[in-house]
Symmetry: C2
DNA sequence: TAACTTACTGACATATATGTCATTAACTTA
DNA sequence: TAAGTTAATGACATATATGTCAGTAAGTTA
C-alpha cells in the first residue's frame, strides 16, 4: 500500500511510528531494528521520526508507555469474574490473562526485555512493577479468596505465586519462538493448566 | 588482565572465542554484539576471529554446537534416578533439570533465540529438537512410569507436557531478566513446583 | 642461530547506521 | 488565490561496523 504523495498527520504520526517500531522490534529485535526500516514500515522518511522522538531509545520508551497503558486500559474494563467455586473463577481469570498476555500486542515488550533488558533497567522495572505485578496480584488475590472459602490447602500461600503463573510465561515465550515449529493448542493448554494446578497429577 | 605480548594458541582459540562471544551475547544480545568487543573479551585482535570463523553467523552457529554438545555430554553422566515413589523421583529429576538449564552456561542460547530466533530458523529447530525435546522426553518418560505404577491420574497424559515443564521456563526467563529486581529462591521454588504439580492446590 | 612456517596483527576499503539542517510542499488563513 | 506556517523530506557530515590482506613476529626446524 504505497503512499501516493506525502501527507501531514501531526496527531496520528506518533502512534503510527510506534506501531511501526514495535512491528520491526518483533521482527528483528531492538538492536537490529534500523530507523530506516521503521520509517519504511510507517510510510514516511527516516528524518520524520526525529520530529517526534529524539532517538531510538526515546522510541522504545514511548512504546512501553503506550502498550502498557493500553493493556491496563483494557484490563480496567470487564474484569467481572463470577463468584462461583475456585476452579471456575480460576479458569475465567486464566482465560483473561492468556488473552491479555499471550495474544496481546504487548508481547513484543517481553521479547525486548528478555533480549536486551539489561540495557534498559528502567523499562525492566516498569514492566515488572506494572504488568507482572498486576498479574501476580490478581492471582494472589484469587488464591486468598479460595483459601478464605476453605477450598485451598493452607500451605499453598507459602509457595511462590510465580509457579501458578508459569504456564502463561511458557506459552508467551513459546508464541514468540517455537510456535511455528510446534504450535500450542491454547484452549486445551488452559484446561491442563487448571487441572494440574487445581488437582495435581497424583491419584486421590 | 592484559595480555603482555601476543601468543599463538591454535588449539585453544576457537573455544576461547566462542566463550567471549557468548559472554558478549549474554551482555548485550546478538545483534548489538560487535566483533571488536568479542575480540577484546578474548584478548585478541578483531581480525584473528576471522581466521577461525567466517562471520558472526558462523560464530553463533558454532556456539550452539559447543554449548548444546556440552549440555548433552553433562546430561549423559550421572542420570541415576532412584526408583522410589513418583514424588521422590520427580523431585530428583527437577533438581537435575533446574541445574542443567537455569544455572547453565547454555541459558544464553535461549535468550538469543527468544530475541532473534526468527533470523536463525535452523538454530531454533536445533534447540527445539535437542534441548527442549530432551527435557520433554525425560518428563514424559517419568510420567509414564508413574502411570504404570498406578500413582498418577490416567487423564494426566492427555495434557501438554509443557505444563509440567513451565516452571522451569519461567525460572530460566526470570534469571535472564528480573533476577536482580526480584530474586527467586530456587530451592524453595522447586519444592513448590513438586507440591503444586503432584498435589495441586485444592483441599483433598 | 639462522632460516622457515604460520598464527596473528594493523591498516584499508566498504557498507550501513545515526542525527542534523536547509529546502520543499501540504495545509491554513486572510 | 495569495501569503504564511510548519510538517515532511533529501542530502550531508559523522560514527561505527564489517571483511580483507600484506606485513609482523612467535614458535619450530635444520
Amino acid at each position: 500500500m504505497p503512499q501516493a504523495k506525502r501527507s501531514r498527520r501531526k496527531e496520528a504520526r506518533p502512534e503510527e511510528i510506534i506501531d511501526a517500531a514495535l512491528a520491526e522490534f518483533a521482527a528483528v529485535g531492538y538492536s537490529a531494528a534500523s530507523m530506516a526500516q521503521i520509517a519504511a514500515r510507517a510510510g514516511i522518511a527516516r528524518s520524520t521520526i526525529y520530529l517526534y522522538y529524539a532517538d531510538k531509545e526515546a522510541l522504545i520508551s514511548a512504546a512501553f508507555d503506550l502498550r502498557l497503558g493500553q493493556a491496563f486500559a483494557a484490563a480496567g474494563q470487564g474484569v467481572a469474574l463470577s463468584s462461583g467455586p475456585f476452579r471456575e473463577v480460576f479458569h475465567e481469570m486464566l482465560t483473561l490473562l492468556y488473552t491479555r498476555i499471550v495474544k496481546s500486542d504487548a508481547l513484543v515488550l517481553l521479547k525486548v526485555l528478555v533480549a536486551e533488558g539489561r540495557q534498559f533497567p528502567q523499562l525492566l522495572t516498569r514492566y515488572h512493577d506494572t504488568a507482572l505485578n498486576a498479574a501476580m496480584t490478581m492471582l494472589t488475590g484469587l488464591l486468598k479468596q479460595g483459601l478464605a472459602r476453605g477450598e485451598l490447602r493452607p500451605d499453598v500461600m507459602g509457595y511462590d505465586i510465580k509457579l501458578v503463573m508459569s504456564p502463561i510465561m511458557l506459552a508467551a515465550i513459546w508464541h514468540l519462538t517455537f510456535q511455528e515449529l510446534e504450535p500450542i493448542d491454547l484452549a486445551h493448554y488452559i484446561e491442563g493448566h487448571v487441572s494440574f494446578i487445581c488437582d495435581g497429577i497424583l491419584t486421590r
